[in-house]
């Protein structure tokens, strides 16, 4: 195999695995803060 390769960690970062996890984390709310469904 050629010596120059992107390693797995660099490839993961490039396509945004960490950003994906952070994005999902922003939608995790503590249970006590969940808003009840209301009829309008």
């Amino acid at each position: 195999m050629p010596e120059r390769q992107m390693d797995f960690a660099a490839l993961r970062t490039l396509v945004g695995f960490d950003a994906y996890d952070r994005l999902l984390d922003t939608y995790v709310a503590p249970l006590g803060h969940s808003r009840p469904l209301t009829r309008t």
């Binding site: 120059r4 992107m6 797995f8 960690a9 396509v15 945004g16 996890d21």
Partner: protein, 287 residues
């Protein structure tokens, strides 16, 4: 001028189907290297290099086509679109990444049918919870035994109903629930009629050996540099019982590094070495 090499043109007469060609390859001895493709050009290069089959990697297609992580963000339609282009570009059998099957057993059946129509020789179906994650990253969840078995049964039924592609049954239970559960699932997949078996992310050579020994069948190893599974040479893999050795990101990793290097060079000396390559093409062509 031919747009495609002779071997890639539409088969006529008694040319064996893609699944039949894959079946014939699997009947041979030893462990075959399976470089993974991500587009038509990479598949063509794999064929040109003499490899008798390839695998369309979901990680690599997600990265190359959309620059997004392999986390279920790419749609089955996008995967099929990429797969059609790949299958039309080569004559070697291509195995596709069918992910979780994209829903319930009815969705799994349709996914297998669609992969067959796209020209795939085989399709992989796995037992992760949707949206799935790359098998070598982070925490994973798998569906229940019942749901996992229903997926593979639906895939096998679609194959037997004429959809065509051989079924590569994958379990990610090693990471989520442990090796014993993963082996139980693989055995059940084999009993249901799966053609190929894939224990994702075993942590050691001993685990790889145990997976192959405990479940008779055609096993595929997934060799990802920087991943969780030891990288072993094909001769050792064959001794352990593997018949296929997939290299999911080898081409993408090398291509990415080569592009970075070319771009650095072009940014540094746009009028010298990089531009020189454009001035002396081996086959004159335009943009």
């Amino acid at each position: 001028m031919h747009l495609m090499p002779p071997t890639a043109r539409t088969p006529r007469g008694n040319v064996p189907s893609a699944p039949d060609r894959l079946r014939a390859l699997l009947a041979g001895e030893g462990c075959r290297a399976l470089p993974c493709c991500f587009d038509a050009l990479s598949a063509r290069l794999i064929e040109q290099a003499g490899f008798p089959l390839t695998f369309m990697s979901g990680f690599a297609v997600s990265a190359a086509r959309l620059a997004v992580p392999d986390a279920g963000l790419i749609t089955v339609s996008e995967m099929l679109d990429q797969g059609r282009a790949i299958c039309q570009a080569v004559s070697i059998p291509v195995i596709g990444d069918g992910d979780t099957g994209h829903g319930n057993p009815a969705n799994v059946r349709r996914t297998v049918e669609q992969f067959g129509r796209a020209g795939f020789a085989g399709v992989m179906i796995e037992d992760q919870v949707a949206p799935k994650r790359c098998g070598h990253t982070g925490v994973k969840e798998v569906v229940s035994r019942a749901e996992a078995l229903a997926r593979i049964r639906a895939a096998v039924d679609a194959r037997d109903a004429g959809a065509g592609p051989l079924i590569l049954a994958r379990t990610d239970a090693r990471g989520a629930l442990g090796l014993d559960e993963a082996i139980w699932r693989l055995r059940a997949f084999a009993d249901l009629g799966a053609d190929l078996l894939f224990l994702e992310a075993p942590r050691s050579e001993a685990e790889m050996a145990r997976g192959c020994r405990k479940v008779p069948g055609v096993h595929m190893a997934n060799l990802l540099a920087g991943g969780l599974t030891p990288i072993l040479p094909p001769t050792r893999l064959a001794e352990l019982g593997y018949r296929l050795a997939a290299y999911p990101l080898a081409l993408l990793s090398v291509a990415g590094a080569a592009m970075q290097e070319a771009l650095r060079e072009l940014a540094r000396r746009p009028d010298a070495r990089a531009a020189d390559g454009f001035r002396r093409p081996s086959h004159p062509g335009g943009l």
